[in-house]
Each structure stands twice: as structure tokens, then as C-alpha cells.
């Protein structure tokens, strides 16, 4: 059997997904046996031009991690889509926008201000922020254009499979690779994870306790047996796809929601909100408001990994038509 051609790419990502490929441990050698790596910015050194030179659909499998944050991410996403037979959206950022997607609660200007100008530790007296084009005596310099809005991979190109997770668990990744190598392909569009929400695999007991306050994880020592929500700590499990093995909740950490919404979900954030509001133990509007306000960042909490694929995708932009 001819060796497969494998590409790995990172868009707006932290690198954790690439590391999770390395977390396959000795199986990584198997990948080496099965495939030639034609692109992997983290680990190898081919150039974009090498890819551009290829015939379309030359690459057998492309694992694309990271969200689409700038014009380079978009350009390479489109390029790899053209060149790849199978494009896999790897990790929460590629699948749903992920943590970079929370940038959609702000706009480009605010982000630049915050990163380059407003910080006390910024030594930027000239008030320079990145520009897509800048003319210097030597000529014109370019940088990728930073978009106002983060998108998931699927929002810009056609995607064949999704492996969620921040980072995706190596066992799911391996399962996907095995399926692709063996030709046992699942239906297009499949999410290589569980079908039900995390609660289904959560070992904790739920007894229907309601809460008078919402606490931060740092302020409480969680009981390991009972439902985290019932202990007044937000757990995204009820509206988050399972299949991760419930690793966080088993480690006494609430689900952060990295597997994203379940199949055909309307909106992960509002659905989670509804389930969590149901646990509030009060019939008094003022008290409810007080309890509610203990959740400092509901959008960032409930849409932690999925804002770009949510119903509204981003915060309202002033002056947008």
C-alpha cells in the first residue's frame, strides 16, 4: 500500500492540538510508517508553496486545528481544502472557534488596544498596532489581516469530520486515523465523539439539590461524589457533547464545555443557561438577580468554546448593517 500523504496545520490555536498528536506516544511511529507528512508547521518544515504546487486532492488526510482568525488562516484553510481528500477539523478551535472565539465578544480595535496599547507592561510609545500593509523605504511589507470576527473551520470551508476537544483526546484521534486508514469511513460530517451530553457518562450522583449561590471553583472544595452543579459550581456538562471519558469531572474539575454543542443543538450557551438557571433556589426576583450576578461572565462561561458557532456568532457590532 502506498504511503498516505498527511498534512497537519494550525490556525488560531495554542499548539495543544499538535501536542495531542504527539500524545499518541509510540503510535506516532505508526503514523510515520503509514504516512508521509507533507505539512506540519509545528514539527516539520515544508513550505506553503510546496502545497500550492501539488495537484488538487493530493493530500489524503489533513488535520486542521485552530480557528480562523486572520487572512492567513483563511487562505491556508482554502488551500488545504483544495489539496486534501479528507479534511478533519481537529480540536475545539477548528470545530467551534474555541477559546480564540471568545474574541468575538470584542472587536478588532478593542483587541489591538488591549494587546498593544492599554497594558501597563506595553512599551509602545509610538502606538504601533499591526497593519496588513505598511510601506517602508525598502518597499511594501504585509502581514495577514486580523479579522474582526473569529470563525470555525466549517464556517469557511467544507469539512469532512470533526474531532472536538481542547485538546482532543488521543484515543479519539487514533480512532479517527484508524478509520480513515482502514477505509471504514463514518458518514461525512460525523463528529468523532459521543452522541449524548456529558452527563450521560458522568459518574456523579444528581439528587436535585438547588443552589442559593454560584461559587467559583477556587472558592470551594468539591465533593467528588455528587453533581458539581448541585454544589453551586457551574459545570458545562449538561449541554456539552460527551465522549471525552468525563476526564475533567473525574478529576474533580467541572466540565468546561470543550466538546462543544451536541448534535443539532440550537445554541449551547442559552441551553446551558436554561439548565443552570433551573438550579437556582429562589422565587424572589431580587434574590435571583443577586445569585445570577455571581456569575461574572455568563457569555464567556456558557459559550466558552462555541461562541463563533452559536446562534449570534459574536457580539453586536456598532454601525453594522
Amino acid at each position: 500500500m502506498a504511503k498516505l500523504k498527511l498534512a497537519v496545520y494550525w490556525g488560531a490555536a495554542c499548539g495543544g492540538c499538535d501536542v495531542s498528536i504527539l500524545d499518541l506516544h509510540e503510535k506516532i511511529l505508526k503514523i510515520g510508517e503509514l504516512a508521509d507528512i507533507v505539512l506540519w508547521p509545528l514539527a516539520a518544515d515544508p513550505k506553503y508553496s510546496d502545497i500550492e504546487a501539488m495537484e488538487d486532492k493530493t493530500i489524503d488526510l489533513c488535520l486542521f486545528n485552530g480557528a480562523v482568525r486572520n487572512s492567513e488562516n483563511l487562505e491556508i484553510a482554502e488551500l488545504l481544502r483544495r489539496k486534501s481528500k479528507i479534511l478533519v477539523s481537529l480540536g475545539s478551535c477548528a470545530c467551534f472557534g474555541g477559546i480564540p472565539g471568545l474574541g468575538n465578544l470584542f472587536n478588532k480595535k478593542e483587541i489591538f488596544n488591549s494587546v498593544y496599547l492599554d497594558r501597563e507592561f506595553n512599551a509602545n510609545e509610538e502606538q504601533i498596532v499591526p497593519k496588513a500593509k505598511v510601506t517602508v523605504p525598502e518597499g511594501e511589507l504585509t502581514l495577514p489581516e486580523f479579522y474582526n470576527t473569529v470563525s470555525s473551520l466549517e464556517q469557511v470551508v467544507d469539512v469532512d469530520y470533526f474531532i472536538p476537544g481542547c485538546p482532543p483526546p488521543p484515543d479519539l484521534l487514533w480512532k479517527a486515523i484508524e478509520a480513515i486508514v482502514s477505509g471504514n469511513l463514518p458518514p461525512k460530517g460525523s463528529v468523532i465523539a459521543g452522541d449524548k451530553a456529558l452527563c450521560h457518562e458522568c459518574p456523579r450522583k444528581r439528587e436535585g439539590r438547588k443552589v442559593k449561590e454560584f461559587k467559583r471553583l477556587v472558592d470551594v472544595i468539591l465533593d467528588e461524589e455528587i453533581c458539581i452543579l448541585e454544589q453551586g459550581v457551574v459545570c458545562n456538562g449538561p449541554a456539552t457533547r460527551g465522549g471525552c471519558g468525563a476526564r475533567c469531572v473525574r478529576a474533580n474539575i467541572p466540565c468546561r464545555g470543550c466538546f462543544g454543542p451536541i448534535e443539532d443543538a440550537l445554541d449551547q450557551g442559552t441551553q446551558l443557561l436554561s439548565a443552570i438557571a433551573s438550579t437556582i433556589d429562589s422565587d424572589n426576583p431580587e434574590e435571583i438577580k443577586k445569585i445570577t450576578d455571581q456569575l461574572a461572565d455568563p457569555a464567556g462561561t456558557f459559550y466558552r468554546f462555541s461562541l463563533p458557532v452559536s446562534m449570534l456568532k459574536r457580539r453586536k457590532e456598532e454601525g453594522e448593517e
Binding site: 449524548k196 451530553a197 449538561p238
Partner: protein
């Protein structure tokens, strides 16, 4: 497969078409996705209108129908049947409410037409996702609960019992008869109230189909139409209902004899602590008022009553009792309360001796009342001049806006009785004379001829001028201000909702109207029905009404209960929630949220399960479900989302 939708836009005469361009709505609708035919018509709900819909269903093989007309609360059932008569499931129809919620609230013009179009578009988008629904039927328990044993409750109970079905009649007081038992005469025929009522009261007591609970209140209601479970609490009477003979020996023996103001006589007479309020009382058994009984209140008494009782019927150890009843229908006949005129010092009630209320007049005039029917002032003398003031607390923005409906006629009755008994001068102060019932106007004319002076103007004040009781009023016919010295003032006070009507409403799941009386399902189409299937209204708890109307409505309520019994089954609302197990992750968000305990949990499968018999279809569990595993039939996510898209599309 795409649907074939027919859109029918109603003019409602000119009700809708004078505000909304209905032709334009129909024309626009004709261009929407899946709309096969769209048309407007003068009266969609009329026979030809319904036939039009039916013929278009057949002609175009329509699979869905949208009727843009009045509120679905008005003609939803009508058009549902229209479809069903041509073999199409009634739930494949949706109404757009372009009358009550558009034409009637908007100025004519483009915006109104746009709104009507948006509502119709929403209905069209929604109806695409409708599913045929088969309504489930449940059997009907043949027993009926009637709450309140005034004339309304008595009439309802007798009517149902006479058809051979069991009735539980629950009365808060120790005796039945309500306000009517206190009345002397009834207008316009001047029949004695007791002559009309007491035979019915006796019938209640003797009818083997009627189980009477006095001193009792409903404290819990569960279940649904056809199958209610009701919990009744009975306060101790301290007198054995079976053995007491009603001889009255205990009453005479009571150490508190003639020392307690009698409620039945509106404080004008006195009674004992153990008492029978009036000679024709039903049940004719003594009752102990635990507040004024020395033994019960203070633990110290010679207990002369126990000595006096020859059948050992008195038992101070008696405790409250709870009874669980199962019934198919419930009729509420909880009546009214009288407005307390001492709230307004301008009327002088409680300030001056000879200012009394209408019901106090009834007791004075009544032959078995405290004066033996003699109409006298506090000092025992006969009044020479009497004022009757209408609308005390009624038709008054400061108190109650509603018309109490009976006071004009009872005032005329009082005037007639005063003339008859004393020949005194009588002045009636009225805003308008409302003599709308059968023989009422004739009765009014007769009393006018008897020389009663009717002054058009609401009595504004009752004062004492140099020790002389005086009524001040503007005579709006003469355009003069008048001060009329009188010996006695009768305040005909408003009929208002019972003190606990809010609690009763929430116990039975009813709504109250703006005036505080229980709200009927539809003022014209369903005047004795309520928002809760199987719960009906009779008498003044719905709104003030006179005895003829009360009796008629009580019979109507009985007919409603009887029709369910006769059919033996009722259709349940098909709006229910259900769990799609393959989507449910077992997070249990829904389990604790259900107010009916309808959501259970299958521990083995780790999924929620909804008990269809307990579910009432509020859909709260569905909204709380974070995975969309719960669907409420006829209010599915797809349907509501489509409707939202419809109203928002420009």
C-alpha cells in the same frame, strides 16, 4: 415532501377589513413557500366561509390550513372542526390572530396590514411543522363536587342529583342557603325568599345522591378533567350531626345566651355560643362557635349545654377531619361578599345608629328576624322618612368600578316594603335605574306609583345636622343640591369578590378578572367554563347577578357536568411533553422542575421519562432541557422557531 397550504383571510364583516387590507394579506400569502391557495372572505366562521375552506381543501388537496381571523381562543375549535369534517386532522390548522391582536388595537393603514401579514406569515411557517395529533380520551368519574351551598350551589347540586348522579356539596359555613337565606322578599314577584329557598335546602338534605359537607373547605385539588382528586377539611362542629335533633335545648341553656351578635342577623340580633341561626336552618343541628364558647375558648364553663342535651350530641373533643373525594367535574359556586361601607366615613355607617346596610334591612324586614319583621329604628320607634342609597362601593372609581347589578331592584323592593310596612316617606338616590330583567321595569313603575321619590344623583354624604340624620345629594334632574332629613338610611352596598377568592382561584387553577371575580373561559361562548377543563362557575363568584340569573347559570353549570357524565369520557388536551431517549443524557434538569411530578427518571437507561397522565403540557421541562431531548407536542421547537422567523421576516 412539501406541504400544500391554504391561507384563508377573514374580513370579519368590517371588523378586520376596515383596518387591515385583507385582500393584500391574501395576495402576499399567495406568493409564500408551500402556499397553494390564498383567499379572503367576508365571514370565515360562517357556514359558507367554512364550506369555502372545505371545498378548497378538497379541490387543492390541501395538507395544511391557516385561518387569519380572530383569536384562536374564539374560533380555534370552530376551524379545527371544519377540517375534521372533511377528514383532515384538526391540528393541521393554525390561526393568525389578526382581529383581537391586530385590527382592534391598531389604526387603519399600512402598519396594521404589515402586522397582519407578519402574523399570517408566522402561522404559515409554523403550520409546515404541524403534526396530526390524536386526542386521547379519559373516562369521567360520575361524581361532581359543588363548592358553596348558596342558591347557586344548591341549584347545581339538585339538578345533577336529580339526574341520578352523586354530588359532594361543600359549604364553608355550618349551614347552607348563603345570602338568600337571609333575605326577606325577592323582587320582582315579592315571593318570600324562604318560600323559594327552604324547600330546596330540605331537598339537598334529603337527596340520597347529595353528600353535604358543612363547616368544610376544599384544601387540595389534584388531577385533571374527569378525574379530580379533592381534599376537604371539615372543622369540628362539636355537635354530632347524626344524633342532634335540633330541639334547641342547648341553645337556651347556654350561659352566653343572647350575648353574641348574630352573624345571620347581621349583628342586629343576639345568639348563644351554641346556636342554630334560624328556625329553617339546614342542617337543623346546633353548632358551637368556638371563639365565643367559654369552654372552648377559656376552658372554663359549667357546660350547661351538655347537661341540657338529652341525646348527648355535644362533644368538645371533636377534631378537624379530612376527606378525600374523587370527582369528574367541579362547580364553583362560592358567591360574593358585601362591601363594607364603614370604609367610607361619608356614608356614616358605624357612626350613626340608623344607617344600615341592605342586608341588615332584609333582616329587619324578615318575620323571623330580630324584630319579628317590624321595621323600627334603634330606639324602637317607626321611621317616618327613609333614604335608600344605591351604588355604595359600586360604580365608584374609588372602590369598585363594576355594577353590582342587583341593587337597583333590591332598592325598589326595599322602598315597596317600607311603604307597605310603615307608610313612611321614601327617597331613593340613584345614578341610573337599571331594571333590565323580566318584569323589573313593571315593578319599578308600580313602586313609583306608590309615591316613592326617586332622586337621580348619587347620595354623596350622610351627616347629622343638629342631631337630625340628613342625606346630601345633587339632584341631577333638577340641577340642585339637596339636603333631605331622614330617620333611617339604607346603604345598598356592592357585591364584591369573597375575601379568599384569590386563594380559591389558585387552588383550582383559575384566573380572576379585573373586578376580582373568577374569569369565565369566554364571556359569551363559554360563560360557565373556566381556563381549567372540568371546572365550572355558577352564581356570583363569576360576577354579581340576581337570583333568576344565578339559578339559570347554576343549571347551565350542572348541564356542563352532566354532559361529561353522559358521554362518559372527555378529550384531554394533546399538548404534552415527551422525552426522546436517544438525546437525553440524564442530566435531570427537567426532573425537579415539573410542578406535577410528571417527570420521572429511568435509572437503568439513565434517561428522563414523562408520565403522560400527569403531564399538563406547560413545556417548562422542554425549555430547561439543555439537549433539546424534550418536545412539547403542538409547541415544538421547530414550530416556534418557524413562527419567530415568520414574524421577523420583512
Amino acid at each position: 415532501m412539501s406541504e400544500r397550504i391554504g391561507v384563508f383571510v377573514c374580513h370579519c364583516g368590517t371588523n378586520i377589513s376596515s383596518v387591515v387590507d385583507v385582500e393584500q394579506v391574501a395576495k402576499d400569502a399567495g406568493g409564500w413557500d408551500n402556499v397553494t391557495v390564498a383567499m379572503d372572505y367576508k365571514y370565515m366562521c360562517s357556514d359558507p366561509g367554512q364550506e369555502l375552506i372545505q371545498s378548497k381543501i378538497k379541490e387543492h388537496n390541501l395538507t395544511r390550513v391557516v385561518v387569519a381571523a380572530c383569536s384562536p381562543r374564539m374560533h380555534g375549535p370552530t376551524f379545527k372542526k371544519t377540517l375534521e369534517r372533511v377528514g383532515v386532522n384538526g391540528y393541521l390548522m393554525e390561526m393568525a390572530n389578526i382581529r383581537e391582536q391586530c385590527a382592534w388595537t391598531s389604526d387603519p393603514g399600512e402598519l396594521a396590514t404589515e402586522k397582519a401579514t407578519a402574523l399570517t406569515r408566522a402561522a404559515v411557517k409554523r403550520v409546515n411543522f404541524h403534526q396530526p395529533i390524536k386526542e386521547s380520551e379519559v373516562s369521567v368519574n360520575k361524581a361532581t363536587l359543588v363548592v358553596g351551598a348558596g342558591i347557586a350551589g344548591i341549584q347545581t347540586a339538585l339538578q345533577i342529583a336529580s339526574a341520578g348522579y352523586p354530588v359532594y356539596l361543600v359549604e364553608k359555613e355550618a349551614y347552607i342557603g348563603g345570602h338568600m337565606a337571609q333575605f326577606d322578599k325577592t323582587f320582582p314577584t315579592m315571593d318570600c325568599s324562604a318560600c323559594v329557598l327552604t324547600p330546596k335546602m330540605v331537598d339537598v338534605n334529603q337527596d340520597p345522591n347529595i353528600d353535604l359537607f358543612t363547616n368544610s373547605q376544599v384544601v387540595g385539588v389534584e388531577g385533571y378533567v374527569g378525574n379530580f382528586k379533592v381534599k376537604v377539611r371539615t372543622e369540628p362542629r362539636y355537635v354530632n350531626l347524626k344524633t342532634c335533633t335540633g330541639c334547641g335545648d342547648c341553645v337556651s341553656a347556654c350561659v352566653m345566651k343572647d350575648r353574641i351578635p348574630s352573624e345571620f342577623d347581621e349583628g342586629l340580633g343576639k345568639r348563644s355560643a351554641i346556636y342554630i341561626p334560624f328556625p329553617q336552618a339546614v342542617p337543623l343541628k346546633a353548632v358551637v362557635d368556638k371563639e365565643s364558647c367559654l369552654f372552648l375558648a377559656k376552658g372554663k364553663c359549667k357546660q350547661t349545654c351538655i347537661e341540657a342535651c338529652q341525646v348527648n350530641a355535644i362533644n368538645f373533643q371533636e377534631e378537624e377531619k379530612f376527606t378525600e373525594l374523587e370527582v369528574g367535574s367541579i362547580v364553583l359556586a362560592t358567591g360574593y361578599k358585601l362591601f363594607d361601607p364603614s370604609i367610607g366615613p361619608q356614608w356614616g355607617y358605624g357612626l350613626y345608629d340608623n344607617v344600615i346596610t341592605g342586608i341588615q334591612f332584609e333582616r329587619l324586614a324578615n318575620a323571623s328576624g330580630p324584630t319579628g319583621g317590624k321595621l323600627v329604628l334603634k330606639d324602637g320607634s317607626q321611621p317616618q322618612r327613609v333614604a335608600i342609597m344605591h351604588c355604595i362601593g359600586s360604580r365608584d372609581e374609588n372602590y369598585y368600578a363594576h355594577c353590582s347589578r342587583v341593587c337597583c331592584m333590591s332598592s325598589v323592593k326595599f322602598a315597596h316594603q317600607i311603604k307597605e310596612k310603615t307608610g313612611a316617606e321614601v327617597y331613593e338616590f340613584y345614578i341610573d335605574m337599571r331594571c333590565f330583567g323580566k318584569q323589573y321595569e313593571e315593578f319599578y313603575n308600580r313602586v313609583q306609583e306608590e309615591g316613592v321619590q326617586f332622586i337621580r344623583g348619587k347620595g354623596s354624604e350622610v351627616v347629622e345636622v343638629d342631631g337630625q340624620l340628613t342625606v346630601r345629594a345633587e339632584d341631577t334632574l333638577l340641577g340642585v343640591f339637596r339636603e333631605i332629613p331622614v330617620d333611617m338610611v339604607i346603604l345598598n352596598n356592592a357585591l364584591i369578590p369573597q375575601e379568599d377568592s384569590d386563594q380559591v382561584a389558585s387552588l383550582f387553577g383559575l384566573c380572576s378578572g379585573e373586578d376580582g371575580f373568577f374569569l369565565e373561559a369566554h364571556i359569551k361562548l363559554a360563560p360557565v367554563n373556566t381556563a381549567v377543563d372540568g371546572v365550572f362557575l355558577a352564581g356570583c363568584c363569576q360576577s354579581p347577578k340576581d337570583i333568576p340569573d344565578t339559578v339559570a347559570q347554576a343549571s347551565a353549570a350542572a348541564a356542563q357536568a352532566l354532559s361529561a357524565i353522559a358521554l362518559g369520557k372527555v378529550k384531554l388536551s394533546p399538548v404534552r411533553a415527551a422525552v426522546e431517549a436517544s438525546r437525553c443524557s440524564g442530566c435531570m434538569s427537567c426532573v425537579n422542575i415539573c410542578p406535577y411530578g410528571a417527570v420521572g427518571f429511568d435509572k437503568e437507561q439513565k434517561v428522563s421519562v414523562i408520565n403522560q397522565a400527569l403531564c399538563k403540557g406547560c413545556g417548562t421541562c422542554g425549555a430547561a432541557c439543555p439537549t433539546g431531548a424534550i418536545t412539547t407536542s403542538h409547541f415544538t421547537r421547530e414550530q416556534i422557531m418557524a413562527q419567530i422567523e415568520g414574524v421577523c421576516a420583512q
